[in-house]
Symmetry: C2
Subunit: 105 residues, 2 copies
């Protein structure tokens, strides 16, 4: 189970990835785990939260936009993105957002 990410005092960035899957696994589960592990090693990575209940929502947190650009163009991630388009997702939306304020318990 994913936990609530521990993030620093804002500002920082969030990539909100919302998706609907096609039927069947087709290697998705394994690749998803690999991508979380790979993202975690990238410069500027702060944390990740993920849940799927029909709709899947994954939010990754980053220090700055340049780190997000580098992650988007990472070679291993590009392979996953291509398979995502072709095989795993019937639709998705990626939103890049600047976190301005946060609070919680």
């Amino acid at each position: 189970m994913s936990e609530i990410a521990t993030t620093p005092t804002p500002p920082y960035y969030a990539v909100i990835f919302s998706s609907l899957r096609t039927d069947g696994d087709h290697g998705y589960g394994e690749m998803a785990d690999k991508m979380v592990a790979l993202a975690s090693t990238q410069q500027g990575f702060l944390g990740i939260e993920s849940a799927r209940e029909g709709l899947g929502i994954t939010v990754s947190y980053w220090t700055d936009l340049e780190s997000i650009r580098q992650w988007k163009s990472n070679a291993g991630h590009l392979v996953a993105q291509k398979l995502g388009h072709e095989l795993w997702y019937s639709s998705f939306k990626t939103r890049i957002a600047k976190v301005e304020h946060d609070y919680g318990i």
Copy 2:
């Protein structure tokens, strides 16, 4: 099942609410449905996406910060927030973020 929200061209705002539940329902399911219905009638509301898989992630989208402030202080929502603190969530984090860019299929 929640769907991917249809949102306008950025900029707009996202409220990312990540939570872990306490055990038992205690009226949570009914209140969650009520809050989605109530939020949908508020000024500036654009859409909402939600999934729970242990960790719950709900992202609501808004035109501007003032609409988010008004929703936070809505009387019905204040009751739900109080019960959330006291009864339903073992921990949560709310992040308010400005969506600067989006893309998808």
